[in-house]
Amino acid sequence: VKIHDLSMPVWEGAAYGEILPFTNSSVRFLEYMNYEDHGIRRTLMKLDRETASPLISIAPATPFNYKPSQPNPKHEYTLSDIPLDWLVLRDATVIDVRAGSGHEITPDELEAALDVADYRPGDDVLLRTGWGTTERAYTMGMDYFMQGPSLRRDAGECLSEKMDAMDSHFLVTDLGLLNPPRVQGHNWFTGDAPVVPLPKPWPSAEARERTVDLNGRTHASEEPSSFQAIIPRAVAIAKCLVDCDQIQGNRFQLIIMPLLIRQAGAFTSRFFAVED
């Protein structure tokens, strides 16, 4: 049995915490017991729901807001309620759409990949582009996300329909951002009127001001989100996985281990692929 770790590491100042105003926020570590004074290390870690490789449900703001992010969801689970046998050693299929810098996956590309995939009813889905690697995340900084590939909304709708028909529970992907950066970062780090120089994320003054401007929306683009096209038909979606090319076959067993936070709607998780 081969076991592959697909989890993005957590480190202070990681770019996933820096690029957006409030979908995510900075990873900060405070070492309050240290080798020099205490002979032991203890660290306070400030994370966010979307730190590293997050698993995101239909109601990501639970337990503070149980309202689904889209109407008529097929499933309504918080992360702590998902049955263990949906998380551990589930059959999964690889949907391979190789995509490099700046590429937005189209419906045609997705359908071509679905045509050749060994996709069986009940499978979880790994949308693998080859973009997500630990080394690239360590070295590219914010460009890892700003220049990364993504999924167009219409391709997201196509994938959503297929996952619904196959009764798939989870979509996991090595895309840094599922939405195109031009959508997610519109008029923040890109767009007609990007904020220059780029401010710090929440709780910076600029991020707080942006919540006023957006009035409840999560990004400033008029284009709808590809994430929101898929989430109503899935139990949860995970993005920002890494090193998925370790998986040699086109099928594997998936282990998803969100940190067990009571009633959380989204949080950093570990992802492992098991191959015989």
């Binding site: 592959h4 926020s25 205490h38 290390r41 203890r42 994370l47 966010d48 998380l87 709780p203 492992f272």
Partner: protein
């Protein structure tokens, strides 16, 4: 058919039973719009993995991000039964007896099951921490020796603590009335100014003994009584913290009879 058992103490924003000492970090789960939006956790919040490198003497040893998936996922595990009463110590001879009854194979993780993690603890009290069974330093030394002898380096326990910090933290901190909050309260930070290496090593001697033997530990497992038999396989999923000496983790048992 694989049976799955959740062995993780949930992180609960309303109350965490392990936030007794100033050495712990308050678990905060804050909503959007809050200045601290997101989550604050400590190295050893809830069910947590701690590495030998938590101690200065072993700081050159590996960190959390160095752990290979094969060490953490579907890890064959021997369940070592050591039933304890509240507050009862595990002594060195108890370790020998329990090991002799266990079904241990080379390279196994060891799960010491006292029953403490299966007790329903009243919310809002200190009993989970203060009445927890614990390892004496001699027992920890014996465990470390025995584990090294079979080439294993991972110990899991269903107790709240490995050591009982009764030299300083219990007599100095828990007697304060009203008791201050854990880190990052002002009182906790002030206490830690005087809680130096000598005091740490006096309080956490059993932890140090295990670290000296190169043993990683996972503490605060729950529900271990549900695991049938004396062998299982575990999934241990800590936050993948770069250069971390420990991290909160999720632990699940996958029980499929003889395959473990």
């Amino acid at each position: 058919v694989t049976q799955l058992f959740e062995l993780t103490l949930p992180l609960d924003r309303e109350w965490m039973p392990d936030e007794l000492f100033p050495t712990a970090t308050h678990f905060l789960f804050a909503p959007r719009g809050h200045p601290e939006k997101g989550t604050t956790v400590g190295t050893d919040s809830g069910t947590a993995l701690l590495l030998p490198s938590q101690f200065r003497e072993f700081r050159k040893q590996r960190r959390v991000h160095d752990l290979d998936a094969s060490e953490l996922v579907l890890r064959p595990t021997a369940v070592i039964d050591l039933p304890r009463d509240p507050g009862q110590a595990i002594e060195a001879n108890d370790v020998d007896d329990a090991i002799s009854r266990a079904e241990i194979r080379r390279g196994d993780a060891w799960l010491v099951r006292t029953g403490w993690g299966s007790v329903e603890h009243e919310r809002g009290t200190d009993r989970y921490m203060l009445d927890s069974p614990f390892l004496t330093p001699a027992a920890a030394r014996r465990l470390g020796e025995a584990m090294r002898a079979v080439s294993t380096d991972l110990l899991l326990v269903d107790t709240a603590l490995i050591s009982r910090p009764d030299k300083h933290l219990i007599p100095e901190w828990t007697v304060m009335n009203p008791r201050p909050l854990c880190h990052p309260s002002e009182a906790a930070r002030a206490y830690l100014q005087g809680y130096r290496t000598r005091e740490v090593l006096a309080d956490w001697e059993a932890d140090f003994e295990l670290a000296s033997a190169g043993i990683m530990t996972v503490r605060r497992l729950v529900n271990c009584d549900a695991i049938p038999g004396r062998r299982t396989r575990l999934i241990i999923a800590p936050l993948r913290v770069v250069r971390g000496v420990g991290a909160p983790c999720r632990v699940v048992a996958c029980h499929d009879g003889d395959r473990a």
